[in-house]
Symmetry: C2
Subunit: 245 residues, 2 copies
């Protein structure tokens, strides 16, 4: 017999806590537990190729993965950035529509798709939670579309930094810890793929923001933000209120 409270805590598997377990019942958990497994990937390794048959869904436990789309001539656009606790996979679809790649070493908590779908069809909470998560992703994708279609290179960079800062803050529940700083988990090239720019332009605009005192760098990947409002203004977002800190 499973101990309910242990399962609600979910150990090192965020999906069960965040996506599935909120108001779970013991036997559902037991069934989930039976089909759950972990997979590790090395930095740079492709997890799923676009068009592949997908036989699992899951969530990121640690590390970072990206969702990208590539044209025949090599032009590449990132269409999703997966941080720990983010969900991957589409119940009801048999093939992947995009490449999923680990950009750092990565651990995922996976569920075989069939049993997961069966569970979903018998447990309304799961479908509802997934719907909520998918709607969040859709909103994020639409903000991203504004960025890609209408923002300048400088605004794109400022937006990316504030997006990462926000997700970071949400993830670590870090509160008003004085100075705000973020580690960029992406190379310049990955940022370029995220933003629809070239890596040279990314580099130039980061240098420009640094020169203008909007951000400062310690090493290539660590950014401090002396004035968050200033950064948000540079990002061209309409007032974002107290999302951060």
């Amino acid at each position: 017999m499973h101990d309910h409270s242990v399962h609600v805590q979910c150990g090192d598997c965020p999906i069960r806590h965040r996506a599935v377990c909120a108001r779970c019942e013991t036997d559902e958990l037991a069934r989930l537990e039976q089909v759950k497994y972990y997979r590790s990937f090395q930095a740079g390794q492709t997890i799923i190729w676009s068009g592949d048959r997908m036989e699992f869904v899951g969530s990121v436990v640690s590390g970072i993965a990206t969702l990208t789309q590539t044209m025949e001539d090599g032009r590449r656009q990132m269409v999703g950035l997966l941080l720990p606790s983010d969900f991957v996979g589409r119940p009801g679809r048999s093939t992947a529509a995009f490449d999923v790649t680990a950009t750092t070493d990565l651990v995922m908590c996976c569920f075989r798709k069939k049993p997961f779908e069966e569970l979903m069809s018998t447990t309304p909470h799961i479908a509802q939670r997934l719907l909520e998560m998918t709607l969040d992703e859709l909103d994020a994708a639409r903000e991203w579309m504004l960025l890609l279609g209408r923002k300048t290179a400088r605004e794109k960079i400022a937006s990316l930094i504030s997006i990462i800062a926000r997700r970071d803050a949400a993830l670590h529940l870090r509160r008003a810890s004085g100075k705000l700083s973020v580690d960029l988990p992406l190379t310049r090239e990955e940022m370029a793929d995220y933003l629809g720019l070239t890596l040279e332009t990314v580099s130039r605009q980061i240098s420009a923001l640094k020169k203008d005192g909007v951000i400062s760098l310690e090493g290539n990947r660590h950014v401090s933000i002396p004035d968050l409002d200033r950064l948000l203004e540079e990002a061209g977002d309409d007032s974002d209120g107290g999302m951060l800190v």
Copy 2:
């Protein structure tokens, strides 16, 4: 007592057929029927402003609506194009994230949000169908991101025409009717907002595609496509197979 078969047909209300009724039961339909109502909008009228409280969900019965986002300085990006049978609204959210505007005269079939959500929580099929629709939208948004971030103006125009042709074909179940032709339901400016371009560039690229024989125009809004494969090639999509015709 409701006649089940009538409700499965759904009369003039596509949501009930497409989103809700697939495997419905009589009493669910009766409950839905009680909270269902129609609203008409004139061309150009704003249906919902971003940030507004949203007290209904629904689907487009006839006409066309757009989802747009606008920056303070007026730069504008379309982030959704709603054709008949498309769903609007986010169960679980209280405020709208984007402006919804009728670009033609429009009829929507609406459901008050509260009862719809209650129905959703008691009827697994509804949440599952909505999840499926939302995943479709997310896929479309991600294709759109590739277009916005990486395609040239010419590719963007060719993509837009093929997207509209595809949706049109799906909608009207039109089969190999000889020559392929589409009505563009958008002004040049709306196309520009869709594609992240200016209206002048849209006009120029349409002229160029016409000059090169990829499309031909009858009037400003009606496009014929002599060679679909040629158009898809211009759009830069990797092989789309027999999605059309």
